[in-house]
Symmetry: C2
Amino acid sequence: MNPYPNSRYELSRRGFLTKSAQGLGLAAAYPLVSQSVSAHEHGGRKPLGIALVGLGGYATRQLAPALQETEYCKLTGIVTGTKEKEKIWSDKYGIKEENIYNYDNYDSIADDEDIDIIYVVLPNSMHAEYTIRAAQAGKHVICEKPMALSVAECQQMIDACQKAGVKLSIGYRLHFSPYHRRIIDLAKGEELGAPRYVQSEFGFTIGNPDQWRLKKALAGGGAVMDVGVYCIQGSRYATGLEPVAISAQEFKTDPMKFGEVDETVTWQLEFPNGIVSNSTTSYSLRTNRLYVNYQKGRAELEPAYSYRGLAGRINNETLDFGRTNQQAKQIDGFVKTIWEDTESEVSGEEGLRDMRVVEALYKSIAQGGKRVEI
Amino acid sequence: MNPYPNSRYELSRRGFLTKSAQGLGLAAAYPLVSQSVSAHEHGGRKPLGIALVGLGGYATRQLAPALQETEYCKLTGIVTGTKEKEKIWSDKYGIKEENIYNYDNYDSIADDEDIDIIYVVLPNSMHAEYTIRAAQAGKHVICEKPMALSVAECQQMIDACQKAGVKLSIGYRLHFSPYHRRIIDLAKGEELGAPRYVQSEFGFTIGNPDQWRLKKALAGGGAVMDVGVYCIQGSRYATGLEPVAISAQEFKTDPMKFGEVDETVTWQLEFPNGIVSNSTTSYSLRTNRLYVNYQKGRAELEPAYSYRGLAGRINNETLDFGRTNQQAKQIDGFVKTIWEDTESEVSGEEGLRDMRVVEALYKSIAQGGKRVEI
């Protein structure tokens, strides 16, 4: 059942809508709006309800607080397998008992009118399944990055959301940071000429050796899947181009701790016209930078990928955009795409494109670093 | 004939010295001095004479002016194939007519008592020959980087200098910059812990398409041989380690201009203990940085590799060492190694080690980016 029959997909397939979806009568409440509707003009709408699936560190420390700052949606539900978390979250965020789910009754969320969007914040290996089931429950979906473990899974997720007529986006919060908006704008070449080279690094020192991020079955990979994805994204939006080939190299200092997943990986993306990016990601190095070289200058963000405290410069101009809650903007941005029936800039297709790079990256490593076409 | 029989090599092989070398009687004038002799204590010595071989841009704009600032040596000779340059240089620097040589009478410099050191500033392909002939003329030698076109050539140069009992150093000016001295010191790990990762870039936009730097026969390679060598050097002294393997990737935007040599190359050096460096060099990108990640912090120089105006920081401390004439310090440093009979920190062996990396780098490119052991 799809509560938002005004989505692009539904409009184009209106003839195929089921009677129950057509009969929901929400088209009047959420009429088609043009892309030019401003944030202000959404003011009169009822905020959408969002449920977080998986109450780990990111949901607890970033997303739930961000949802106290969103304008267009609010935290109305949770899905957790940990009984003790139910009361903690319920007390803290006033979540009604009937909006609390576990992994046994997850699918019954379909009938919950308080929940319009499901935000999947589970370990990577569960992204595809829980996104597809959310779509089947008729809910719009935000899925954390990395989108899934493979291009095939990404495609299944996209297909499931299209079939259900719900929107899908990936938790690429940095598209909603003013620092990264500048980088995205500069890719047009109007200010500093065409981008020619990107250098990017994102790594941190991972703690607890027992966490799911170090288990191949749950994480699908190591630093690449976790923070390396930011560098891949960054290289793509900084150039405004899709890479045509990749070479990648893997390095290990602790083969015990990183027995299942990659610790430090470097890779080079080849874009059309000989444009190159060179990146490093790591679970044992603290490094955090996005540098772009243009025909007529340079831009640099450092730290580039943190939740807050970003800094940077464009040539000699220091960037200072003050505080932004990236996640709040990201989630509100998704609601706007629902209301305006537009495609999210951080759509499932966008997540799939990164996964295509990730698959080629691991293939290159498996081939001793040889160049692999994407 | 070797005017400095107190060099380390000569001392160890004293029994093999020719009568003429032993009979030169300079041992009294330049007695063995301990390594602790300070610059001040050299004050009373007669500065050594130096001849520049090859009066191109670097000799003209950097080395000759630097030799007006050196304390321990002075520009006393030139070797040039361009007749017009003879008077220009003679007028500007007061070089005596008898100390002006061309490529026909180069070897007769052996008898010139005004010239103690020959500085080879010719195109790369001529480094080996002119260094070896300088050694055979009994002169100490400074050879510009890259030392030569191959490890084999480097070894021949080292052997020739050892045989002649003269000292050899490579024009690695940055060892004499206080910014890079800090990087070299930090490699000891006493301040910020062990180095763990190096990122380095050096590129510029090369002009005239007819210059020797773009001819394979003269340059031996492109950006790698020219400015990439600085990144290799930088990675080696920033870690204080020798690399064990390399992967390298080549990119071209202008296959016409860069028909014979590399335009943009990225490479990854693997050091012991899983320490990594990732570098980019280019003849079409302006980029100039050395970043080192340590267990307890970071150091960054940018610009890192310029002749002047270096800047940087160590964690949050901004580095400002004022003005240094890198080339003057480098050349004076070489004279000190002659007077003190010590091994130059930027010896021929040091140049050979970089060339070993360069050879492995090109081998990796030829193998499609596969990891090559060094």
